[in-house]
């Protein structure tokens, strides 16, 4: 596919604020839920696997770590770019 088709669709000016607001509202869920699930998988491994010496739960530990690291890797640049956008927005409103 060419670059033009891979580019992102532009938003009409009248809907721009609504979309940014929706994105900001959705961000806590987007960031927090995978982290909670990752921590929960590790916690479950600790309670039912590590504490009871049951090796069957090792997979949950590995999955928990993968989900945590994978999400943190993409969440950091996402939050950075979001903060950058908010700064630009607040400056332009002044």
């Amino acid at each position: 596919m060419n670059k033009e088709k891979m580019s992102y669709m532009k938003t009409e000016i009248k809907n721009y604020d609504k979309i940014v607001r929706a994105e900001l509202l959705f961000t806590p869920l987007l960031i927090a839920l995978p982290l909670i699930i990752g921590v929960f998988l590790i916690y479950d491994w600790y309670v039912r696997g590590f504490s009871e010496n049951n090796a069957a739960f090792t997979g949950q530990l590995m999955l928990g770590v993968i989900i945590l690291i994978g999400n943190i890797v993409f969440d950091i640049p996402f939050i950075k770019s979001l903060v950058k956008s908010i700064i630009v927005l607040s400056k332009s409103k002044k």
């Binding site: 009248k14 699930i37 949950q60 993968i66 993409f74 640049p77 996402f78 927005l89």
Partner: protein, 239 residues
Amino acid sequence: MIEVVKKLEEFEGEVVKKFQDTRRRINSIDIDVHWYRRAFHAFGASLLFYYMLPNLDWINLLKFWVPPAIVVTAVVIEILRIKGKVSSDHFFGLRMYEKDRIGSYVFFAVAIIVLLRFFPQPIAIPCILCACLSDPIMGEVRHRFRMKYVYIFGFLVCMLFFSVAWYKADVRLLLLASFVGAFGAVIGETKKFWWLDDDFMIQMLPAILLGIIWIALPYIGFGDPGNSLDIIYPGIWPW
């Protein structure tokens, strides 16, 4: 009369200023869309929580009906968007090729539901992880390096996910599943079609290949694995 003209000129100046300001804000959000899509992909990994839900009647009922209901709603919204009844402006982060086609997120969701519903855990979990984490990783590698590194890096990352999901299996089976799964995922991601999204292919192609191996397991001397290869166990919660 002169006052009215002056006021009109002032108003025009304000409109132009506001327009330029908004334009600058729109340009600033471009970087955000890119990382928003990446974060959205990674968010999908949290759907593995499905396997942790306890086996209670009412939860099983929810597990059966809620995911298809969400997908059907998304499909209806997408059809309305394509027909022009809902403006594409209400959707954040769509690419140009998705303008006249169902959005990638629907393909992503449909593939996840098919995997959760019809495939065993050792197949479904790594395939979902490939779409959620390998896909954005390969996208970033494609941004920065040459195409051959996408294949190499993507293959290694996918292989890691498949080997984690099959770690309870016999070593020969683990290696076979990791190799076939990673091969399918990389092909599914790199071969792009307008009508069939890579978010669907990266999940379904390795799943189908591994599904064939899964069915053939008793005939190639590994026996029927049943639930012995499951890696996530339903929770035992107070309610």
